[in-house]
């Protein structure tokens, strides 16, 4: 309704404006039309008008002699020889008229207006089309901009939020101290590591540590993933690295966190082949910027990877990522610490100690533990809803066991399935196509049929006599037999796993 009102108001206003202009212009045109009336005359008629006293002024324009009449008209002398008229003008003391007429003004100037208009129009159109057609590259001018994001205040993490990883925290403490009080370190001539490399399997808290550094120091934190430096165009990655440093340099002290460093940091190849040119350029740019340019004094780079083995050795040189912090799955005491942090906001049943939970989550990483506790809380709520005894919800040991079970099971099933095939089948489970799959369950039964639908946990197949729903958990293998709508035509054998292109317009 508000929108309609606004629309109505806008048009009402415009209409009123239009009416006002129309009425005003209506009067104006009439006056000027009279003023404009131009009469071409012979010399005799002109002289007669001058002598009759009807002419108030004269002027020459474009080689013609024009006589301005007292009633607004203009006489233009047609004859080429105008000496007689001029003589009459002098005799009757008619003065030259300097007021320029509007018509001649515009007609005279029009030609050069077009010379201004033409390029303007051209560039305007060009701009319009670049903007319009640039849908895939989004905007060619934005391409070189870094995609690094600064983390805002409420998402800040502190060292206290990190359980375990004591050695790593200690090492990073130095860094924090340097960012806070650089003087203490520079006074003794110490050079603080510019880069720190966090190495460890997924889920061990690499990102968390980096964020904690930023949180402790109140430094600006730029989060970026090395994969963002990899682009289709050569040089873009390097430009983005530069841009990231430029931004960080403006907001010193700053922490730049580069996740998945292995995406650009792989060992540089030698000799032939331009395959990796772009990646190497990006890496080189990063190395150059890290090599301590003065203006990046208080910019620290923290990188994370879980493939330290493939990294270029040049990355580890002094002045670059010269400190390597290895993270690993938490020990028993670490786990207890992590559990303490994650149960801060979750009620745990009396008598359930952290030690007990820690035993159940053996071998899990910090991220896994967080997921388990979250799942346990969900299980607990579900259980209390079922029993409906009015007691406050609290996580009990059984809930934790259940949660661990659930998550492990989920992972196990997922790992066992041939994920490529699953993907293909799910693509064809979309309404348009037909897909046939063969599922072999753990107990050896083989079911083959059309895929009716498929979700994260179950797959429904239509066999010749019945519909069967199979839990993926029970599936040993899922095999794709055929797909695509064209498969039934029999004309040709299509590539069963290519999806028909649905993009139109």
């Amino acid at each position: 309704m508000g929108q309609r009102l606004k629309t109505g108001l806008i048009w009402f206003f415009l209409l009123v404006l239009l009416l006002i202009v129309l009425v005003n212009r209506g009067n104006r045109t009439r006056e000027e039309d009279e003023f404009r009336s131009v009469i071409f005359v012979e010399n005799d008629a002109a002289i007669a008008a001058v002598e009759a006293g009807d002419i108030v002024g004269w002027r020459t324009q474009h080689g013609t002699l024009q006589l301005v009449g007292s009633e607004g008209y203009v006489l233009v002398c047609r004859d080429s020889d105008q000496t007689a008229v001029r003589k009459a003008l002098v005799d009757n003391a008619v003065l030259p008229d300097f007021e320029q007429d509007r018509i001649s003004e515009t007609s005279g100037d029009r030609s050069y207006i077009y010379w201004i208009l033409l390029p303007l129009l051209f560039f305007g159109l060009l701009y319009f089309f670049i903007k319009r057609s640039g849908s895939t590259t989004n905007n060619i001018f934005e391409l070189r901009k870094s995609k690094a994001r600064a983390i805002n205040e409420q998402d800040k993490v502190r060292f206290a939020d990190i359980g375990g990883n004591r050695a790593a925290v200690e090492m990073l403490q130095d860094l924090v101290d340097f960012l806070k009080e650089p003087k203490r370190w520079t006074d003794v001539g110490a050079r603080i590591p510019r880069g720190i490399l966090l190495v460890g399997p997924p889920g061990t808290g690499k990102t968390l540590l980096a964020r904690a550094v930023a949180g402790e120091t109140n430094a600006a934190f730029y989060y970026t993933s090395a994969t963002e430096f990899v682009e289709m165009f050569v040089g873009v990655g390097a430009a983005r690295v530069r841009d990231t440093f430029e931004n960080a340099g403006k907001n010193q002290p700053a922490v730049i966190f580069i996740d998945e460093l292995d995406a650009i940091g792989r060992t540089r190849s030698s000799g032939m082949g331009t395959m990796h040119e772009e990646r190497e350029q990006t890496l080189n740019q990063l190395l150059v910027l890290m090599d301590g340019v003065e203006r990046f004094q208080r910019v620290v780079v923290i990188a994370a990877t879980n493939r330290a083995d493939v990294l270029d050795s040049a990355l580890m040189r002094p002045g670059r990522f010269d400190r390597v912090v290895r993270l690993h799955a938490p020990t028993e005491t670490d786990r207890i610490e992590i559990l303490r942090i994650h149960t801060r906001s979750k009620p745990v049943a009396q008598g359930l100690t952290m030690e007990t939970i820690a035993r159940h989550v053996q071998g899990l990483t910090g991220a896994d533990i967080e997921a388990v506790l979250n799942e346990a809380a969900i299980v607990a709520v579900r259980r209390s809803r079922r029993s409906n005894d009015g007691e406050p919800v609290a996580i009990q040991e059984d809930d934790v066991i259940q949660a661990v079970e659930d998550l492990r099971k989920g992972n196990r099933v997922f790992n066992r399935l041939d994920s490529v095939l699953v993907e293909s089948v799910t693509q064809f489970a979309e309404p348009t196509g037909r897909a046939v799959a063969r599922v072999k369950t753990v107990n050896g039964t083989v079911i083959e049929g059309d895929v009716v639908w498929m979700n994260a946990t179950h797959i429904k197949l239509r066999t010749s006599d019945a519909d069967v729903v199979v839990a993926k958990e029970l599936a040993e293998t899922i095999e794709a037999i055929e797909g695509t709508e064209l498969a039934s035509d029999g004309d040709f054998v299509p590539d069963a796993w290519t999806r028909p292109n649905l993009d139109v317009g």
Partner: protein, 220 residues
């Protein structure tokens, strides 16, 4: 200068209205055919502000060219109702804009014809101005409709052709599409070179308007 400004306002407001209705017609048709992409973006609205294109709606009229375009309405053919095929839906949606302009033009002609009946008390000096305004609106709408039906991307006409191009001609059409922007710039610059493709149809419209208003003044 003041006069120039007044002049511009008198043709800019009808132009803005025409462009707005044009884009609205696209969005509305797409919405009625089941694609709510444009609706979700708030484009099913007669509010000119949501349809403004900085170049086509502001810059071009600002430098004094009584012509323009508005922000294109995005459509997603996949979302059309199942009762319309995707090509048909695209054709209808694309054609809606030019058709709306033709309708506006027709309404204006009708208004010119019936002006003495619906507004007998009009002052002698405002009547010609109103007729002039309506005539201009007719011309600009016919111009917009014709221009948009030129089958060069990204104009509406190209969307229609695109939907009707047989599968075998697709690659040829795509090649043509990549030339689209240049062709369009070329066509827009043709009048400056003295070639006016739309001259004939426009002359016809002017004739029609002249005869209509002549009839009108004869009856007066």
């Amino acid at each position: 200068m003041e006069r120039d400004l007044l002049d511009r306002i008198t043709w800019y407001i009808p132009l803005l209205l025409s462009l707005t209705v044009h884009e609205w017609a696209h969005a509305w048709t797409a919405w009625k055919l089941g694609d709510d992409t444009a609706r979700m973006l708030g484009r099913v609205s007669l509010n000119p502000i949501v349809h403004i294109d900085p170049v086509g709606t502001l810059l071009l009229p600002l430098i004094g060219i009584p012509f323009g375009w508005a922000r294109p309405v995005p459509i997603n053919p996949v979302r059309f109702r199942h009762s319309v095929s995707m090509p048909l839906g695209v054709v209808l949606t694309a054609a809606a804009g030019p058709i709306s302009n033709i309708l506006i033009g027709m309404v204006c002609v009708l208004l010119v014809v019936s002006l003495p009946i619906i507004w007998p008390t009009a002052a002698a000096e405002t009547l010609p101005a109103v007729i002039e305004l309506l005539s201009f609106t007719t011309m600009i709408n016919v111009l917009l409709a014709l221009f948009n039906m030129i089958p060069i991307p990204p104009l509406d006409g190209s969307r229609i052709v695109e939907s009707l191009v047989p599968q075998g001609w697709r690659s040829l059409w795509n090649q043509f599409c990549s030339l689209g922007p240049f062709l369009l710039v070329g066509i827009l610059l043709l009048p400056f070179a003295g070639i006016n493709l739309l001259e004939r149809p426009m002359q016809w419209v002017v004739h029609l308007l002249n005869s209509v208003s002549a009839m009108h003044s004869a009856g007066h």
